[in-house]
Amino acid sequence: MTHLPHRDRLAALAHRPLLSPAAWTALLAATLVMALLPLANLVFAPGHALHISGYMIALLGKFMCFALAALALDLVWGYAGILSLGHGLFFALGGYAHGMYLMRNLGGPDGVNRMPEFMSFLSWKEYPWYWAFTDHFAWAWLLVICVPGLLAFVFGYFAFRSRIKGVYFSIITQALTFAAMLLFFRNETGFGGNNGFTAFRTILGFDITAASTRAALYWATLAALALAFILARVVTQSKLGRVLMAVRDSENRLRFIGYDPLGFKLFVWTLSAILCGIAGALYVPQVGIINPSEMSPQNSIEMVIWVATGGRGTLIGPIIGAGAVNGLKTWFTSAFPEYWLYALGLIFVLVTLLLPQGIVGLVRQIVRRRKEVDA
């Protein structure tokens, strides 16, 4: 009988490891290398051959926040086929929530925390109710997670229940982030109007501009990114991940085998918004500013381009894409500042036409060809 080996083959199909041993090694090695970089900033004095500037560390920390946001976007777009053009909103909300805590710790020369200036200008004597408890770090982080999560849940519930899909859904997300931006531009909203929050001084009592604080924020971001990657891998490798891909490929068919797509879409959509909010929260202390322009539609579209460039539907792709596009942006905006948007548009067109699977897809194709040639 051929039944037994047949069974073993099926068992191998059913129980695949979370990551292959090679992938685990690569993940650990990459995390380790990234973790060592701030040491090169702290240990070696400026001018030393191995010194890495504080600017570089801050830049990489920022890129990792973008990578986390891209990973979050890929969960909904690459796996469940839900294209969000409004993920910048969740990113900004996480940033604002964390920023509220930072604004409560402005500590003047006398060491007493004053109300932010934008509130004094409005001649407000007290913090509005929604600023309550934001002087507590833990509460601020609860907001970082809950505000984007709750907004995504409620918005997602109504959108998915009404079976709004495809381009209609994308346009609504775009409108949502635009509306929020207009709301946050108003001074009376209580979030500093178009200036937003800036001039932060301390976080948990540590000087926010100190090299050691910057390194700690960098490490926190790296840890968040690595954990989010593993979490995303757990989700996408589970049966739920396969259901999400079925939602992407044929949602109606899925209903007829007994799944209600609503709950699955809502789960991944909310998870994605939370991860994006965390990315925003880590971003704000590192760049030292958050304002409503983070909610502009352009930012959300840029996120989509990171994912597309790296390779949607792969988890490593968005991380690579966010790094590559932003690396290019950093160089471009200092060399030819006026032309960045044209370059970005060109990247999107070229990726769509020539690299539908992104950078990761290209690499996979090359590897496959090599193997065929060898064989």
Partner: protein, 273 residues
């Protein structure tokens, strides 16, 4: 009556989890359609259609294009709501109150006219997704295949003869293989009632014959409704069972294949135009 009320009164209707135990078939029928009318902007796709399917029966439904065969399937599976009339699954489950996923979970499986498998998933994963299980979000996230479930997938792969294709993407299968995979997915749901919409459309003769064998193997284990154009195929699977002829949204004739073929009205509908 809402689902909750049904659960309270009828006992064990359950969606979102294992469901077939809840069907009350004590009167010997698994599906009752009574005076179903579906009108689209005044056009009656189904016109006062009444039909019942017995437990374990294999019923063939034939009829010219536009007779309402697919609309009838849509009503049974919750895709289309009837304008009037009642549709019951067993004695106790009112199909007009449930959505597609709840109906699928209650134990009605449907195979579509065009094969619709998840093309990016492997054959194995297609069967895994379809398998009867708790299909809630949390249970799905933490689901792990046990050896019993693995056996069931292996058995189904044998029945549909795709054992050596288990690891291939379903999109790479031939048309006939996709149709069988879809039948396999239906079987994994352990439905009490199987609806097959033109299962041999577009198949080669050999594939058609193999599909006939497959359905004959399943006869008696499941109640089945087969909608088909191909008369030879219907003759092959109908045997001494009942055949229903639909015409313009209602039942034109019902009886054995020989009986309906001799019916003057049926001949007129099929041959008179």
């Amino acid at each position: 009556m809402s689902v909750d009320e049904q659960q309270a009164s009828g006992g064990t209707v359950s969606y979102g989890r294992v469901g077939t135990a809840g069907v009350d078939t004590t009167h010997g029928a698994i599906l009752y359609l009574e005076s179903i009318t579906v009108s689209f902007d005044g056009f009656k796709a189904l016109n006062n259609l009444s039909l019942d399917i017995g437990v374990g029966e294999l019923r063939c439904i034939i009829g010219p294009n536009g007779a309402g065969k697919t609309t009838m399937m849509d009503v049974i599976t919750g895709k289309t709501r009837p304008t009037s009339g009642t549709a019951f699954f067993g004695q106790n489950i009112d199909l007009t109150l449930l959505n597609e996923a709840q109906i699928a979970d209650a134990g009605i499986g449907r195979k579509f006219q065009r094969p619709t498998v998840f093309e990016a998933h492997t054959v194995f994963e297609n069967l895994e997704l379809a398998m009867k299980a708790n299909k809630g979000v949390r249970r799905t996230l933490f689901s792990r295949l046990g050896s019993e479930q693995l056996d069931r997938i292996a058995d189904t792969l044998d029945v549909i003869r795709l054992g050596d294709q288990a690891g291939r993407a379903a999109g790479l299968l031939s048309h006939g293989q996709k149709q069988w995979l879809e039948i396999g997915m239906l079987l994994m749901q352990e439905p009490s009632l199987l609806l097959l919409d033109e299962p041999v459309a577009g198949m080669t003769d050999a594939e058609t014959e193999r599909t006939g064998e497959l359905l004959n193997e399943l006869r008696g284990k499941h109640s089945m409704v087969v909608v088909e154009h191909d008369m030879d195929f219907v003759t092959q699977i109908a045997g001494a069972g009942k055949v229903t002829v639909l015409h313009e949204g209602s039942v034109l004739a019902e009886g054995t294949m020989a009986h309906v073929q001799a019916d003057a009205r049926v001949i007129e509908v099929y041959l008179g135009r």
